[in-house]
Amino acid sequence: MADTIELRDIEVWDGNMAASHALRQVQVDVVAAYPITPSTPIVENYAGFTANGYVDGEFVMTESEHGAMSCCIGAAAAGGRVATATSSQGFALMVETLYSASGMRLPIVLNVVNRAIGAPLNVNGDHSDMYMGRDSGWIQLDSYCPQEAYDLNFIAFKVSEDHDVRLPAMVHQDGFMTSHTAQGVHTLSDEAAYNFVGEYKPMNDMLDLDHPVTHGVQTEEDWHFEHKARQQHALMTAVLPKIEAAFADFEKLSGRKYNLVEKYNMEDAEVAVVCMGTSVETAREVALEMRQNGIKAGVVGIRVFRPWPLEQLAATLKDVKAIAALDRSSPHGTVGALFNEISGSLFNTDTKAVLTNYIYGLGGRDLTKAHLVSIFTDLKANADAGKPTTALQQYIGLRGPKLSFF
C-alpha cells in the first residue's frame, strides 16, 4: 500500500509539481511517459514518488511520445486508471494516438504543458499544441495558474472516467508561466483527493477474462460514420453537464468554484477580451484599471476549450459591444481559432458586437499590460463606432512594421 504525504494546507508549488501531486493523490495505475520540456518535471516528480513508495501503480518509460500514449491506450483498454504528460513536439508526435484514444473511448488524462511548435525550435509557452489537439476528440480543460492545474486534474479524472462519458481529457497549463512559476497552492489531503475522484470503475476492460473484447477494430464506409457520430454525441451532450456537476462537487469540497466559461467584470461590460491561460490573469488586472478610466471592460476566460461551450459563451457575450479574441497560436492562413469559435457562437444570435482578433505571445513572447491597454482602447473605439476601426486580425507584441490582415 502506497505511503501518504502529509501536505500543508498551502504548498508552494509550480504548475508541474501541482500536477504531479494530483496524479499521485488519485493513485494512477499506469503512467507511461517520455519527458519533454516544459512538462518534464511532471513525470520526473511522479517517478520520484513511485521510487519512494508513494505510488502503487506502474511507471513506464517509453521510447517516444507516440509510444507513451500507445502504452496509455493499452493500459486503459486493459482496465486501469491512466495518465501522462507532454508538450509541443512531443504532443505532435502523439497526435495519431490521441485520435485512437478518443475513438476507442478510453479515459486517459494527459497533462499538456503548452509550448510553441517549431520550426524554429522553441521551448517556451504558447498555445500551438493545445490548438493542434482541438479536433482530436479529447476533452480540453485550461488552467491559468498552478492552483487550477492541480484542481482541474481531479475534474479531468472524474469526468473522463464517468461511464456516460468515457472520453480522454487534457489538462492544459502554460509552459513556464504556469509550469515553472511557484505559487501558493491550496491542497487537498490525499484521502479527500482520492475520494473525490473515487475508485476506478473499469468498463469493457480486457482483463475481464469472462467477457473477452477486441479493442481498436477497423471499420470502413459501412460502420465508421456511425461510430464517429456516437463519439461526437457523447462529447456534445454528456460532457458539459458532467463537468458542471464535477465543478459543483469540487466547490463543496474545496470552496473553489470553476465555470465552463469564466467571467470577470462581465455583468455590465461594454468591451471584453476573450483569452486562455495565464493571459486571463493579466487581462483581469488591466480590465480593472480600464474601469478606473471609465471603460467598462470585462474578461472572459475559456475554461473548457473542448467541447466548446457555444451556448454559454453566446450568453456571456450577448450584451457586449466590442470583443477581442486573443489567440496565442499562429493561425497559418486564416483568422485565429478563438475568433472563429466566437464568430460561430454569435453569428445566429441578435448580438451586433464588433469582433476583432489579436495574435500574441508566440514562442513565449510576453503579453504585457501595455499591450492589453492598447487592445481595450481599440475595443472602446470599435464599440463607439459600432464597426471595426482596426484590421480584423492584428499582431500584438511583434517587432518591426505593424502587421495586420483583413
Partner: protein, 139 residues
C-alpha cells in the same frame, strides 16, 4: 449482418468475442463456445483462397505438425487425431503441406474447385527414391 444505427453500438468500436459471459473457455471445444456474430469464428473469411489443402487420412501419422504450424488455426484436430480442415478460415497458404513429414504427404494443395474424391483417387504413391535417399542419409 443487420446494419445498426449510430446509437445501436456499444461505445468505442469494441467487439465482444462471445455472447454473454464465458468461463473455462480453454477446455471448451470451439464448436461449443458461444461465439458472437462479431467474432470472425462465425464468418467465412476464406474467399481469397485460390488453392486449397486436401487431407488424405491413409498416410497421416497424427504428428500434429500441420495443427501447430497453421497460422489461422484451420486444422481441426481432436484428441490429437487429425480430423480435417476448416475451410471457412483457411487462406490456402500451404504451410500445412510444407511441414507434413509423411511419404507421400497426407496434405496436398489442389485448385479451389477440385473435387475431393477425384483428388484422393489421383493421390501420388510413395516416392521410393526419396525414401532410399533418406535411409542413406540416416546411415
Amino acid at each position: 449482418m443487420e446494419k445498426k444505427g449510430w446509437d445501436g453500438f456499444e461505445i468505442g468500436a469494441m467487439l465482444r468475442t462471445f455472447d454473454g459471459a464465458v468461463s473455462d473457455i480453454a477446455t471448451t471445444l470451439p464448436e461449443n463456445r458461444p461465439y458472437s456474430q462479431s467474432s470472425s469464428f462465425t464468418a467465412s473469411v476464406a474467399d481469397w483462397r485460390i488453392e486449397k489443402p486436401l487431407f488424405n487420412k491413409d498416410y497421416c501419422i497424427d504428428c500434429q505438425f500441420c495443427w501447430v504450424y497453421c497460422p489461422d488455426m484451420s486444422i481441426i484436430s481432436r484428441d490429437k487425431k487429425m480430423v480435417g480442415i476448416d475451410f471457412d478460415h483457411c487462406k490456402g497458404c500451404g504451410i500445412c503441406v510444407q511441414v507434413c513429414p509423411t511419404n507421400p504427404k497426407s496434405l496436398l494443395m489442389f485448385p479451389e474447385q477440385k473435387d475431393e474424391e477425384a483428388a484422393l483417387a489421383e493421390w501420388p504413391k510413395k516416392d521410393t527414391n526419396k525414401a532410399h535417399a533418406e535411409e542413406a542419409k540416416e546411415d
